[in-house]
């Protein structure tokens, strides 16, 4: 073992830690009238009365209340807040479906170069050739990785890419004089899938899962008809299971004229091994903040480029990045093209989250094709190793695999026996894991697994850290056998103890009350 051995607190550790004794104080509560941090350039043009420039009735009467604090106070405040976060650089973060892989610092460095970070989005394309070429190269790389030839980088996140995918589907059918009403999503799908279906104006229809964890083909046959616009699928799915019937699924959907959408959240399992385009998908989104190492930032930013087949390409969002192959260097080769009459239009402003593109392109260039393949292979190896370690211990008894087959990059355990036999709910196990220095897996998802725990260790964890995680789970289940109360009251060592989430929704306090 390389890391510190887990040192869980004794069960009666109810003496508050130093951090727990600190009261949470907001930056507003530190405000003292007259303090400030900012220095601004002085007025260097002739001064005019503001009311001479802007009619009085359009002016603000009272200044907005903002904190009045000095620079050292701001730095201390946010440094103190930062210590109240757990993060990937501190310890393993096996959050299923989120792909918490290491964020290389090189990517931050290149993204911060003024030639990337300080380019105005409305800069004339002639004077932003490096940025457009980077985007074009990233598009080509993603096309190769997905096996779908046309890429648009514009969507801001996975859910945004999903919406784009369904609007593309709508445009594709409309172009053929068709209007379809339904979109199919498996009962294992990410919540964003059915939520997107509704936003895109379709009815969400659920498809059942078979006993092997894949799409139930009989149920699919019963539901797929000429009113189905699209089937949205993740493969491997959220159970970590690769659906080997994918070719048949694709032909069922295609035979009735629907499109097949690939939710790229789990792409980290298959890079260099198989491709959505080869599986028969028409449209796919990628999460650059999952598979391609953009830091998650506490919830964002991300980017959700989409890749599509030839028949969907005419409808892609604008602007498109184009390269003039024939200019022979006489004219700048890259440009933004708007003249795409069948395009669904814009999904957002400007060109998308370029800073994310820089980081992900640097990641792809660092690893190369073989490196990406290695990443997926190691991610799958790590998940299977962690699973094997867990099954060899008490988890084998209390946390069985929901669908008993070799998983890919993630796997889902059911905590139902732990709840029944040792009164340890999945939530209790997750909260206790925090005391051991690990972020818990995704819990209570997918919904069809009772007391689900979904582990995705990623390729950037070492064997040693996987061993430690398995040992922590073993230790927690041992505690549960002897005294489940230890788990019920966890966590003990975190900046705050278990929080009342229901109260925050019953009587929402969503801002600081101010004078």
């Amino acid at each position: 073992m390389t890391g510190p051995a887990p040192s869980p607190p004794p069960a009666n550790a109810d003496t508050p830690t130093a951090q727990q004794r600190e009261t949470a104080i907001t930056i507003y509560e530190k405000s003292v009238a007259g303090r400030r941090a900012a220095t601004l350039p002085s007025l260097d043009v002739p001064e005019r009365a503001l009311s001479e420039l802007i009619p009085q009735n359009l002016l603000r009467e009272k200044p907005a209340i903002l904190p009045e604090v000095s620079e050292p106070e701001i730095v201390r405040h946010y440094n103190r807040l930062s210590r109240r976060n757990f993060d990937l650089d501190t310890g393993p973060y096996p959050l299923g479906s989120c792909t918490m892989k290491h964020n290389p610092r090189l990517n931050e460095r290149v993204a911060a170069l003024p030639g990337h970070a300080r380019v105005h989005p409305a800069q004339d394309p002639k004077r932003a050739q490096g940025a457009l070429e980077l985007m074009w190269r990233l598009e080509r790389s993603l096309a190769e990785i997905t096996g779908l030839p046309h890429v648009c980088l514009q969507p801001s996140a996975g859910s945004h890419g999903e919406l784009a995918g369904l609007l593309l589907t709508r445009a594709y059918h409309a172009d053929r004089g068709e209007e379809r009403a339904k979109v199919l999503t498996p009962d294992t799908s990410h919540g964003t899938n059915p939520a997107t279906v509704t936003m895109a104006g379709y009815e969400a229809v659920k498809v059942a899962t078979d006993e092997r964890g894949g799409v139930d083909l009989d149920d699919l046959r019963a539901k797929v008809d000429d009113q189905v616009a699209c089937l949205m699928l993740t493969n491997p799915n959220t159970l970590g299971v690769f659906d080997e019937n994918i070719a048949e699924i694709a032909s069922l959907v295609h035979d009735t004229g629907g499109t097949l959408y690939y939710d790229g959240a789990n792409l980290n399992a298959i890079m260099g091994r198989t491709r959505p385009g080869d599986m028969g998908f028409d449209i796919c989104h990628l999460n650059l903040h999952k598979s391609f190492s953009q830091p998650h930032g506490g919830g964002g930013p991300g980017a959700g480029p989409i890749a599509v087949s030839d028949r969907i390409a005419p409808y892609l969002p604008v602007p498109r990045i184009v390269r003039d192959e024939g200019s022979n260097g006489a004219a700048p080769p890259f440009d933004l093209a708007y003249d795409e009459p069948k395009s669904i239009g814009r999904l957002r402003g400007f060109q998308g989250n370029f800073g994310v593109f820089v980081r992900s392109y640097a990641y792809i260039r660092s690893l190369g094709g073989d490196g990406l393949t290695d990443a997926s292979e190691t991610a799958v190896l790590n998940a299977n190793y962690l699973l094997a370690r867990l099954r060899a211990g008490r988890a084998g008894k209390y946390l069985p695999l929901a669908f008993d087959r070799l998983p890919m990059h993630e796997f889902v355990l059911s905590g139902a026996p732990a709840k029944r036999d040792v009164q340890a709910k999945t939530l209790d196990i997750a909260k206790r894991l925090l005391d051991y220095g690990f972020h818990p897996p995704t819990i209570y998802f997918p919904l069809l697994v009772d007391e689900a725990l979904m582990f995705e260790p990623t390729e950037t964890e070492t064997r040693e850290s996987l061993d430690e995680l398995a040992e922590a789970i073993e230790s927690i289940l041992t505690e549960a056998e002897s005294d489940p109360e230890i788990l019920h009251r966890a966590p003990y060592t975190t900046p705050v103890r278990r929080l009342d989430e229901a109260a925050a929704s019953r009587r929402p306090v969503v801002r600081q009350p101010l004078g």
Binding site: T26, A37, L40, L43, R48, R60, P63, A64, L66, P67, E71, N79, S82, R84, N85, F86, D89, C98, E108, P114, G115, V119, H120, P121, A122, Q123, R127, A128, L134, I145, A157, H160, L163, A171, A195, M199, I246, I270, T274, H296, G297, G298, G299, P301, Y338, G345, R346, G349, N353, V358, A362, T373, L381, L499, D500, A504, S505, V509, V510, R511
Partner: protein
């Protein structure tokens, strides 16, 4: 590891992938690079872009070259903020959650509206989110948008409207501001929301209260896009009868980044709290009654509510919003006002200076904040090329998005554009307008198809 798993090779772990679907060779990508090689390659790409350090940037159109203080980078690059996921485990996410709560408070103060979320993707798509809220709240499907609303926001509305089953109708500008008569005629009992922007795309300050009153008469909501910096001096939307205020957060401590990532902000009146899109942090207590923060009202969200969610959004822009609240704390109450006043004074100076040039005239006379539009008698693209040779990004060509303003140039100011920069711009523009001959005349405009379609 293979032995523990009980397989003999890594290939065995991929057995579930049918043979016919397996990739039969390596990915057709270049070989990987060492860290130094990768840095050099990316730096070489960066070197081919003009940027706001290499030229004086008067470009705006929604994103602005404000100074980002050093402490923003220092704090947002900390691992504890940079590398966690969404705060699903609040006991180990108090830092991020409290920052969201502080951010929501600041946005609520700026906009004068009681409920703000913890951010959306960016500005223009937030317009579509406001539309979705309004359609849900009113059960109506017509969206009326002023042509003063950012062209990208109107384009996003049209794109999303196909999914919402909604119709988008545009209302023109008169003397630089939304034509109130045309708005009154367009907004009816089928209208879910009226969309305006303040200052509008031409920099003009709208009479938001008067426009919101027209919407209210029609029983529609008013959704206003606002420049957050303008809220230092302009009457906040919450005092003008606006129901939903949203906007592009980039001016608040975020890089230009060729367009992103930044954040969108979104605030509304109390009655819409359960229809709000995106994450919202809320205050609560822990088992020992300590103050703490959690994600509130999660039953609105896709991971709980699935097809019945109020929005499909999952990823927010937490790190960019964190930069936003740090920036606002850095400015503080007085600094924020001073910044707004400085920008207003510089804008007034630049507008007069440019309007005095022979061959340049104001596109409209309405009061402005931070941005203004002029007409130039020489083709704008040629003028911009000329000014670029002088190290100036002189502004944004309005003809890119507006048929009616082919000769329009939009010029933006921030605290970084000094009097000396403005004087240099005036000199360069004068030479460009007067000196540009036929050799600069180029055929072909680059209108976006969405603009041509309307």
């Amino acid at each position: 590891m293979l032995e523990a798993i009980g397989v003999s090779s890594v290939d065995d772990l991929f057995d579930a992938i049918p043979e016919a679907l397996r990739l039969d060779g390596p990915l057709g990508l270049e070989d990987g690079l060492s860290e130094s090689e990768c840095f050099d390659e990316l730096a070489a790409l960066a070197a081919r872009n003009a940027h706001a350090d290499s030229e004086a940037c008067f470009l705006g159109a929604g994103m602005y070259d404000h100074y980002v203080p050093a402490l923003v980078d220092a704090i947002t690059q900390r691992s504890e903020f940079l590398t966690p996921y969404t705060p699903y485990q609040p006991e180990v996410s108090q830092g991020g959650l409290q920052a969201m709560f502080e951010f929501q408070t600041a946005i609520s103060e700026l906009t004068g509206l009681p409920v703000a979320n913890a951010s959306l993707y960016e500005g223009p798509s937030s317009a579509a989110s406001a539309a979705y809220l309004a359609i849900g709240a009113t059960k109506r499907t017509k969206l009326v948008a002023s042509r003063g609303l950012h062209p990208h926001s109107r384009a996003a509305l049209r794109t999303y409207a196909k999914g919402f089953g909604a119709e988008v109708v545009e209302v023109g500008l008169a003397d630089g501001v939304t034509d109130a008569g045309e708005l009154a005629a367009a907004a009816g009992d089928d209208t879910a929301a009226v969309f305006i922007q303040n200052p509008n795309f031409l920099g003009a300050i709208e009479d938001v209260a008067a426009l919101a009153a027209i919407a209210k008469d029609a029983g529609a909501l008013t959704a206003a896009a606002v420049d957050p910096i303008s809220l230092s001096v302009l009457r906040p939307p919450g005092e003008c009868g606006v129901d939903v205020a949203f906007g592009e957060g980039q001016p608040l401590g975020n890089r230009l980044d060729f367009g992103g990532p930044s954040f969108g902000f979104f605030a509304a009146t109390e009655e819409h709290i359960r229809r709000m899109p995106g994450r919202i942090a809320g205050e609560t207590t822990d088992a020992d009654d300590r103050r703490g923060f959690v994600l509130a009202l999660q039953t609105r969200e896709q991971h709980i509510r699935r097809e019945k969610a109020t929005h499909n959004i999952c990823t927010s822009q937490a790190l960019n919003a964190l930069a936003g609240v740090i920036y606002l704390a850095w400015l503080g109450k007085r600094g924020f006002t001073e910044l707004g006043e400085l920008v207003a004074q510089r804008t007034a100076y630049a507008r007069e200076k440019l309007a005095a040039i022979d061959g340049v005239e104001l596109l409209h006379e309405a009061p402005v904040f931070r941005e203004f539009a002029v007409r130039v008698e020489t083709p704008v693209e040629a003028v911009l090329d000329r000014c670029a040779e002088d190290g100036l990004a002189a502004g944004y060509w309005l003809g890119r998005e507006y048929d009616e303003y082919q000769d329009g140039l939009l010029v933006a100011l921030t605290e970084r554009r000094s009097k000396a920069d403005i004087d240099r711009l005036a000199d360069s523009l004068e030479r460009a307008v007067q000196g540009a001959g036929d050799e600069f005349l180029r055929a072909g405009r680059r209108n976006s198809p969405e603009e041509v379609a309307t």
